[in-house]
Amino acid sequence: MKPEQAQPDLARIIKANKRIDVVMASIGILVLMMAMALLVSVLVDLIASGWPRLFNPDFYINFPSRHPEKAGIVSAIVGTTLVMVVTAAISIPLGVAAGVYLEEYAPRNWLTNLIEINVNNLAGVPSIIYGLLALGLFVYSFDLGETILTAGLVLALLSLPVIIVATREAIRSIPLDLREAAYGLGADKWQTVRLYVIPAARPGILTGAIVALARAIGEAAPVITIGALTFIAFLPPPPLQSEPPFISFEWLMSPFTVMPIQLFNWVSRPQSEFHINAAAAGVVLMFMTLAMNGLAIYIRYRLRKHMR
């Protein structure tokens, strides 16, 4: 075959292939646009529907009410904050410790294998199943009731696998040299881990913890299952008091509501006036989770730049 004859054929094939490439790339971009369009329309829809309440200061300082125009989210915001304090206080130390153990200490045996498989499986258990665990175990067997403590505990268990996996990944990315240098200076294992490995892995661990907590803030299912109330017209007792001993933990045993549950309650009502409140609460909730996720992404971005 002479080259002059082959060329037009080749040119056509290449052209056709390039066309397919353009089609494939457009499919990818189209899907991406679709996903982004969803995110944007969710936000726009929420803001537009919640507009009348969103800039009304009463909405943020009022308790829930039977009258939609008087109802507010103060008990939900306080409830979410307190529940998150409990969740963070339990899940971060426990998750980081478990991650450190699995990366730095765990011997290769059946027990380590069991723990690893178990963590992977826990990550896939639906959140509502954690709610059933809390209902059967914490609420009834341990008699903790439908309290902030129970909710904090169940969300901590839910976040645990995420934090463990993030900790492991962060620690795995720390080069071996760092440990060897520490050992070379005479540090023992715990000193090496405590003074060198964990600080070096801190941004990665922090990112994972923030993502896990952002997810926990938005979780409604497990908290509904333990029977969180939706009509809370009071605040839990304050943690700081004017008389000795100044610090009180009574709030742990207080009934509560949280943002996603307040939203769920309002959206389930037939009157459309309550849907306005639900939308406004949705904007606040979205703002909380997006801000936390944004922070996590930012930390990771800085970390990557730092490593280069």
Binding site: D21, L32, L38, L39, N121, E219, A221, I224, F264, T289
Partner: protein, 302 residues
Amino acid sequence: MYGGASERFLRRRAFWNRVAAYLLFVAAAASVLVTVGIVYVLVTESASFFEQVSLVDFLTDTQWTPVFENARFGVMTLVSATLTVAGIALAVAIPAGLGLAIYLSEYSGPRVRETVKPLLELLEGVPTVVYGFFALLFVTPLMQTFMPGLSGFNLLAPGLVMGIMILPYTASVSEDAMRAVPMGLREAGYALGYSRFRVATQVVVPAALSGITAAFILGMSRAVGETMVVAIAAGQNPNFGFDPTEGAATITAYIVQMAMGDLPHGTIAYQSVFAAGIVLFLITLFFNVIGFYLRRRFREVY
């Protein structure tokens, strides 16, 4: 050479070294307790349920009326709605997720990838109640304008929203699988004169197939266990059937509905929640085990 002071220091250091190792082990082992707790609660509570309801009725009856005078417990009623919603979600997430994964792994440059992945993570971070609100009060009315027969509560709208909701997850897991395919395989394809499209569809996708399958099976598991979207937008009537234009309660929606109603501890209705829970747990466990097995396999091959 060592004075008494440094000997004491070394002894104290060795002590803390041992204590730390022990405590870290306890933390890791605690995660196993969570699983034990879940299994314990589900099994004990549903054991008393199955003393009163036969397993055959539970699996073959097509009515689910736990609070009626003449209570019937056919869990397939809830399972049918659950699978319908999850099926719709996958019908969206499989083609879209695969398209996006191929684009990100084979076509886009690193720069696009670095921008897109955080955006997808943001999408994953949206609380599911918000998606439920959106499905009920935005997507359903929108679809009713060109599907007049659609009920206010239906399985279609939450299914579609859930499909886009699990898209970031399925896309990123399948993209990981595709990127794990060695460059050499692609280069071999190009050396044979394959186009980029043929390399993607006939070399990379088949090589990453177990990982891609894992992505969709794990996505299925998520869709089955997803709660708030269906609890808000799919309605709470247990209907046996697979009609996506009608509302029906899924397993998760049933659990939420009963939990909202302040159940008396120890009644059959209370126990039925745990019986439904154990079915949900087994379905998701089944998908997760297959998914993890497939995922591990593609990791081992390359």
